[in-house]
């Protein structure tokens, strides 16, 4: 479903972020991408959503060849993907409800459907009672749950989570990871970029390990090993 084929990403002609990266991710997989800061985790996610273009190589997502998409065609691609960020990236001027609804509105879904779906998903992440609150009135864990609700509401084929627990304490971290596992069990592919050893070792799922822009390990039921 997702294929990286000999992908290179070089910034400013000199700093190499990714070096000949190839991997394949199948539908319904839960894959963790691990590595130190600057190893290229975020670059992989940015390439996948077309925020950056690869210097060399091909990236496939379903029917799309991402590296060939024009700026105008990106919104359509991104409606197949749900993204969760370390810094939440909620819209500050919209309530929790509106933030979640926004992902459906941009896809042009009818209002009646939005009114049905948003409370359901907010209920699933346990925030129905905070629907009318603005992001600055929510705690970090709550914000991230709103972000997850937004990422999953349009039933994307893939959820990308870029260090989703980076700003959270261990309790909320476990909460978020459990949510991601729940989403994965419902049939959505999850790609989790993290450098949190605890998480990786407790998951027991596929791990792709990056070092200096290269894939140094790709194993089923992987563990966090960095030398």
């Amino acid at each position: 479903m997702i294929v990286f084929q000999n992908v290179w990403k070089v910034y400013n002609n000199k700093s190499v972020a990714l070096e000949d990266v190839s991997f394949k991710i199948n539908a319904n997989e839960f894959v963790s991408i691990v590595g130190r800061s600057g190893a290229g985790k975020s670059t992989i996610l940015k390439l996948l959503i077309g925020e950056e273009k690869p210097t060399k190589g091909k990236i496939f997502f379903g029917q799309y060849e991402v590296n060939k998409l024009k700026n105008k065609e990106l919104p359509a691609l991104r409606r197949h993907i749900g993204i969760v960020f370390q810094d939440f990236k909620l819209l500050p001027n919209k309530t929790a409800y509106e933030n979640v609804a926004f992902a459906l509105e941009v896809a042009g879904r009818p209002s009646s459907e939005i009114r049905d779906l948003v409370p359901q998903v907010l209920d699933m992440v346990g925030l129905l009672d905070k629907a009318r609150n603005f992001p600055h009135e929510l705690s970090g864990g709550e914000k991230q749950r709103v972000a997850i609700a937004r990422a999953m509401i349009h039933r994307p084929e893939v959820i990308l989570a870029d260090e989703p627990t980076g700003n959270l304490d261990p309790f909320h971290t476990a909460e978020i990871i459990n949510l991601l596992l729940k989403i994965n069990n419902l049939g959505t592919t999850v790609i989790l970029a993290t450098h949190d050893k605890e998480i990786i070792n407790s998951l027991g799922k596929r791990v792709i390990t990056l070092e200096n822009g290269k894939v140094i390990r790709d194993e089923e039921k992987g563990r966090f090993i960095l030398v």
Partner: protein
């Protein structure tokens, strides 16, 4: 499609309302800039009226020889009236000239006495000619000095006033041209001020714009609400600028009337208020929408 347009308008209004402070700041700047624009329009009206007033005062008088018959004079008047440059001709007969003369010297006993002692009217008949444009007096004077006309004519006031008329013509020309250039420059400045204000307001929203893009919003969907907001700010600012101008014009109007009696500034303003509001709205809305459109574009790149 309809859902998308409706959502764009809904969000435009809602964001405008929720970001009350930035919106008020934008409106404040726009009101000032639009007021400059409005005062430019009004200033042009005032100068136009003042120039009209000066032009009314300029004319040339043709004094005929006492031997010229009234029929000849009226023939000449008729032929002059066919000239495209001529706006208005007034015929002053010898009797009327005497009347005017007596009227203007009624305080002066000696002159009146001297007049009474003469057994005939010493004054000559004349034509007062007004041109449509002051620069055309030279042409009319030239026409009058052609040989078949000049045999009836005693003198032309133009030759005496030529220098003054030419100077007035050049002053009027300069005022018209200078007024246009100043209007243009200030209108551009007003436009740039609005553009920059909106650009700054949108700059502070750049993170939001990138988030919307990441969630899969199309460029139209991201940009639309900002353009709606710009239109809204333009509309509100236009109305406020007119409301502010109304009492100002009311107070200034009587003072202007002293200098320019043919201008009733306030009634001009009131009777043209819909047209003026329309100009303001067009200027405000166009520049608001355009500025938002351009300002957002820079953040839609990735």
């Amino acid at each position: 499609m309809f859902t998308v347009i409706w959502r764009i308008i809904y969000y435009g209004i809602k964001n405008f309302w929720r970001n009350a402070w930035p919106s008020i700041a934008t409106i404040g700047t726009m009101v000032i800039a639009l007021s400059v624009f409005l005062s430019l329009i009004l200033f042009n009206v005032i100068t136009k009226k003042a120039i009209e007033l000066i032009q009314e005062k300029i004319d040339i008088s043709v004094y005929f020889k006492p031997t010229t018959s009234e029929d000849d004079i009226l023939n000449i008047k008729q032929s002059l009236e066919t000239l495209p440059e001529v706006k208005k001709i007034e015929y002053i007969s010898r009797d009327k000239a005497l009347e005017i003369f007596k009227e203007s010297h009624k305080e002066d006993e000696t002159i009146l006495q001297a007049l009474n002692e003469l057994d005939r009217n010493p004054l000559v008949a004349s034509l007062n000619i007004q041109a449509k444009d002051p620069s055309q007096y030279a042409l009319i004077a030239e026409y009058l000095s052609s040989p078949n006309l000049s045999k009836f004519i005693d003198s032309l006031s133009y030759s005496k006033n030529e220098v003054v008329i030419n100077r007035l013509v050049s002053i009027i020309h300069t005022v018209n041209q200078g007024g246009f250039i100043i209007t243009l420059i200030l209108a551009i400045v007003a436009g740039l001020v609005i553009f920059n204000t909106i650009r700054l307001a949108i700059y502070s929203n750049r993170d939001e714009i990138s988030i919307m893009r990441l969630v899969g919003a199309s460029n139209t969907f991201v940009r639309g609400p900002y353009v709606v907001g710009g239109i809204l700010a333009g509309l509100i600012s236009a109305l406020i600028s007119i409301i502010i101008a109304l009492p100002l014009v009311y107070f200034v109007s009587p003072y202007l009337k002293i200098f320019i009696p043919n201008l009733n500034f306030f009634s001009y303003f009131v009777s043209n208020i819909f047209l003026l509001t329309f100009y303001q709205i067009i200027f405000g809305v166009l520049i608001g929408a355009f500025s938002s459109f351009v300002a957002v574009r820079r953040y839609l790149k990735n």
